[in-house]
Point group: C2
Chain length 473, copies 2
């Protein structure tokens, strides 16, 4: 059945008004180009509903007329999940106007919001009520809650507060046939039947469009301490992590691995940034501890320094003595990303491993990269407490762009094979989308494949919603 | 197709040996009578496999021969989920021999176990490695990990560590057709496709039989403090809870609501137990704070006492000065359950509400009970931090047993309607099983019903596995 785009346009204009529909391809770029600059295909047109009911009406229309559709949040997923399929026309449903904070309940430590709310706005609203919404990631000024739910977002504070999955109490979802499912429960415990919301979390919009969420809040931290610790190697960083969990009483909110090469990249991007320690060291750990009440965080960190030193895991370290100094330490983390970006074409990965396998994995991966391409530079940093590494690669500067891409593609395959051999995941945070589908399918067992296919078919038998993401069409 | 029990018996004997099969009805009682003394039907026979592969072989056989089956763990679910269906013969698959601790990884804070491991044994093994498996519940000496997974168990420490769902990193499951799905990942972050394990957690064995799990561990607490605080009413207890989350920096591991009537029940069961405060007060809070490192817990609790007193929420209180005194305070919590049991026939419920609705709900429910049956005694205690109440009822002592049962059934319906009106759940912890199916279905929307049915059909189209639990056959 050919798609009658004129009828779709009439329907959308009637439902949403002129400002709710974008059909001029000149205006598509903002919606088709993602955070990293990757461009997807053009959509049929873009609908901008303002209520969950409007989303349901649009989806029901598409279902009736067999029109493929894809929802889009803040567009920072980076795996092509929310970009229009370049191979077939899709209606893009942008959730940017679905941005009300519905209700904040400080006693229940919960907050219900529209899915198009920007993460930073949700965090700000929580703070105003002396609460805290812990999800923290680079894109928080633009990414949306619905996208955070659909990709099961992670970020900096996962080791303390969990992934997005742990922060969702309830969901409201428009199913692929247009039914609006209300699962906006604000309950911390609920064991009635299968927990349907779990299916939509991390499903990348393939099973339904999230229109609302009840989020779990925490008390707002009142004090925090940031420390940078130099360690001899990755193995010591891991041992120090296990000790930090104990010494800091699970008040650890970040524990980042930063090799010296990343520090150098940070100085390239921000030449005024001071080197925080007198000497250069091979590996650093950047950690933060925070508390909502009268906790003596200095004592905890001192305990960690002492114990870690006794065990031989600490070479040097600095505990930020002011907020300015803490901000400077965190700026290393941000600037090193900029420094990486400044080097041009490179491979970004987002892998995870059992924490105890990180040393063996890094050794094997460094060795494999050095063998295949000695001039490629490994930039491996990440959230140690989650076993989550960004094992990135900077190709030799003297190669042509196409040669760089070919080399990186080849090295990625080697890397992913090693991830698999070490029982890791090729996607710790960003999901599969379209970009990671090939390596994902390669390692998927048949049992799992049939179950995933069965789930997709149960919710979306016609394959109209975000088809071709995660699983092939 | 009539079930050929002789052939089933031959198959099981050959696979498991004589000690792996129980077919003498005289030996069934231990498996058919649950923790609370409720008796289910008799099974066809009982299989006791010792490996995941044996479970898979048994399930494949049953699938081939269309034999209904039900898995059983420690038998403390209390909703009839793991008891044989009295209306049709089922093969019971007991997991009690599947009890190996497979691997403990102290750096990854994880542990992989067979599903038949008893919770207490898992906790003990974690402690030996200076780690902590936080799930804590009354039945921990007998309940099994597979049951904890399948019922998404809760218990005392949920407000700090989450439900069982938050403590599972990976699962191994035998699907209803006998395929063995290996999802034993030990990853703290993994966003590859739909998170299948979530479907089996809380599914009460209706979608597959859990044979193994990778559990998430925490650092072992080194110090803890227990306090009993008298408060004027439930509203104050809630306000104090919100303050305690802040003052105690999320190191709060328990926060229990105990009305005076429960204290009296505790003294009935344990007459030697001292009344911890000089005067009787209407409502108490029993709380525990714990830490794995050098945290000054006394300062935190003092901060809570002071702030709570200023706000008018604290009448009196005692901070246990020794482990003996702490144990005595916790004995109140245990003895009150015994006291309740000693009163004979009574209604136990396991409901949850948004924490902020607990006051309004308790007021409405107390009022409704007083109107319908002034002589029925309300015993409402629970885990405030989870919004989880055991709103239990002791009927008038002078009624006959049948009249008591009829009255309690009537009052339960009134109570469940109020739970619904206050956006709560009639099953916070124990699940639906067979016993809570009628009220569960009554409030289930059509959209949700079709999705749940669809999921069950996807995994178990012939309805052979734990059929009739959660959803009707």
């Amino acid at each position: 059945m050919p798609i009658d785009t004129a009828e779709l346009h009439r329907f959308l204009i009637e439902l949403l008004g002129a400002s709710g529909v974008i059909d001029d391809p000149a205006e598509f770029a903002r919606y088709t180009t993602d955070w990293a600059g990757d461009k997807g295909g053009d959509p049929l047109m873009i609908a901008r509903p303002g209520t969950p009911e409007q989303v349901a009406d649009i989806v029901a229309f598409c279902h009736r007329h067999q029109i493929p559709m894809v929802a889009q949040g803040g567009h920072s997923g980076l795996v092509g999940g929310a970009q229009p399929d370049p191979e077939r026309g899709e209606l893009m449903i942008s959730l940017e106007r679905l941005n009300r904070i519905r209700h904040l309940d400080p006693i229940n430590f919960s907050m219900s919001v529209d899915s198009g709310c920007i993460l930073q706005n949700v965090k700000d609203a929580a703070e105003e009520a002396d609460c805290y919404f812990p999800l923290a990631l680079g894109a928080q000024g633009s990414c949306q809650i619905g996208g955070n739910v659909s990709t099961n977002a992670g970020g900096l504070n996962v080791l303390r507060y969990g992934m997005m999955r742990q922060l969702v109490l309830g969901l409201e979802v428009v199913l692929p046939d247009g039914r609006l499912w209300n699962g906006m429960h604000a309950l911390h415990k609920d064991n009635r039947g299968y927990d349907l919301k779990q299916l939509f979390i991390g499903a990348e919009g393939t099973l339904g469009i999230v229109t609302g969420a009840v989020l779990k809040l925490a008390p707002r931290p009142q004090t925090s301490r940031t420390a940078l610790i130099a360690v001899p190697d990755v193995a010591s960083a891991l041992a120090l992590y296990a000790q930090a969990r104990r010494s800091c009483c699970d008040l650890l909110s970040a524990f980042e691995l930063i090799p010296r090469v990343c520090m150098e990249l940070a100085f390239e991007a921000a030449p005024d940034l001071p080197d925080p320690l007198d000497e250069a060291h091979p590996v650093y750990v950047l950690m933060e501890v925070s508390a909502s009440g009268p906790a003596d965080l200095d004592t905890m960190i001192e305990h960690l320094f002492e114990t870690g030193s006794e065990q031989g895991h600490v070479l040097d370290g600095v505990l930020a003595s002011s907020e300015t100094q803490a901000a400077q330490l965190w700026q290393i983390r941000e600037s090193m990303l900029e420094g990486q970006q400044m080097r041009g074409e490179h491979l970004r990965t987002d892998i995870s491993l059992p924490i105890s396998s990180l040393t063996a994995f890094c050794d094997a991966a460094n060795h494999a990269m050095a063998q295949r391409s000695p001039e490629t530079q490994v930039i491996a940093y990440g959230h140690i407490g989650d076993g989550n590494l960004h094992f990135n690669l900077l190709p030799p500067a003297n190669l042509e762009l196409e040669a760089k891409k070919a080399l990186l593609h080849e090295l990625e395959e080697v890397l992913f094979d090693l991830v698999d051999a070490h029982h890791g995941s090729i996607s710790a945070e960003h999901g599969i989308g379209r970009i990671k589908q090939a390596p994902f399918l390669e390692d998927l067992g048949e049992t799992e494949y049939t179950l995933l296919k069965g789930l997709k078919h149960l919710f979306d038998p016609e394959g109209l919603m975000a088809a071709g993401r995660i699983l092939p069409r």
